[in-house]
């Protein structure tokens, strides 16, 4: 780096901090192990989803004849088939496809910001961080709509045996299937959404620092890399949520 003053010169002895275990900096290493522990939590959520799904009766009839019932686990394509502005149309997984694209794009702009950081290109780092924040916020907006729709329910709702109808979902009853289905939807996508939200907050913080030239003065953009690791992890979790919750 161009500026390393005598004060900042690293100690080089093995026991003075000169030794980097696994050839990664302290911060990056800790981020990796934090993400590993976070992966356990998400793994536990998805495992519970798989367990409860196999505990319930699967729907065995024709997909065309599918109706919502608490008797069996719903087909995700029949639950997630709405799109904002296109009321009443059957568009299976269209909205979730859009959300997936937005998150993959945000991952790419994040890795471009990291790449710009390696070149000490402050303007490019700012530009790509801003794009990442934009995509991340858009994803959060999409998820808010998805939740609102899921909670409000469809026009028809679910017809119960006593002739009443259930609309939408809460933690005890929902129109789509067994109560656990909505519970797991809220917990899994909610926990992921919380992570996206924290990610956007972290991105805003490093964006402000980048604009103020904090990392340029420091001589490296490692903080962008560390937040980048977190952001890619959020994208990675979405890949799994997408498969296990929406596709299968």
């Amino acid at each position: 780096m161009s500026t390393s003053t005598t004060l900042e010169a690293p100690k080089s002895g093995t026991w003075d901090g000169g030794n980097e275990p696994l050839k990664a900096s302290y911060g990056k290493l800790m981020m990796w192990f934090f993400l590993l522990s976070d992966a356990f939590t998400f793994g536990a959520f998805l495992i519970v989803y798989g367990l409860s799904r196999h505990k319930h009766l699967p729907y065995t009839g024709e997909p065309e004849a599918f109706t919502f019932s608490t008797e069996y686990w719903p087909i995700p394509e029949k639950v997630f088939n709405a799109f904002p502005g296109l009321h009443g149309m059957d568009l299976p997984l269209a909205f979730v496809a859009l959300m997936t694209m937005i998150l993959i794009l945000s991952s790419v702009t994040m890795v471009l910001a990291v790449e710009a950081g390696h070149r000490m290109d402050k303007n490019d780092v700012q530009k790509w961080l801003l794009w990442t924040i934009l995509f991340g916020a858009t994803f959060l907006g999409c998820q808010a709509w998805e939740w609102a729709h899921f909670i409000t329910g469809t026009d028809e709702g679910m017809l119960l045996a006593d002739g009443t109808r259930v609309f939408g979902a809460n933690l005890t009853v929902n129109q789509y299937g067994p109560p656990l289905f909505a519970d797991l939807f809220f917990f899994i996508t909610g926990f992921h959404g919380t992570h996206v939200f924290s990610g956007v907050v972290l991105l805003l913080m490093i964006f402000i620092n980048t604009v103020n030239g904090v990392y340029h003065k420091r001589g490296h953009y490692e903080m962008v890399e560390k937040v980048g690791l977190y952001w890619h992890f959020v994208d990675l979790v979405w890949v799994f949520v997408f498969t296990f919750f929406y596709l299968i």
């Binding site: 367990l51 505990k55 993959i104 794009l105 000490m120 990675l236 799994f240 498969t243």
Partner: protein
């Protein structure tokens, strides 16, 4: 930083961006997602389709972790210390899903 040296580089000194590999990974991820949707709409649900989804997901995860998170280029010991615990999580998933199936089987058969 107390010891701040002004060293704003002139624009010409910043190296050119090297983004070819990044966009390549992006297109692979988009293509894999598109293939997933293709299977979702053209194939009937079943174990085979689910296996295809899971395999494609593992490919996507590989590209995100290896390229975007740069794990492929880290030390071998770091790669293993991340992958091995995840293998245990995968095992937990297999174990608990078969537990769920067993529970379902026994409950439905007992009360028939």
């Amino acid at each position: 930083m107390a010891t701040h040296h002004d060293h704003d580089l002139p624009a010409g000194e910043i190296p050119k961006p090297q983004t070819k590999a990044i966009w390549k990974t992006f297109f692979i991820l988009v293509a894999l997602t598109a293939v997933e949707f293709l299977f979702a709409f053209t194939m009937d649900a079943g174990t085979l389709r689910n296996s295809i989804f899971i395999i494609l997901t593992i490919f996507k995860a590989f590209y995100i972790v290896a390229e975007f998170m740069h794990l492929k280029h880290e030390a071998k010991a770091l790669i293993w210390s991340v992958l091995l615990p995840m293998a245990l999580v995968a095992w937990l998933m297999v174990a608990l899903i078969s537990e769920g199936s067993y529970y379902f089987e026994s409950v439905t058969n007992y009360f028939r």
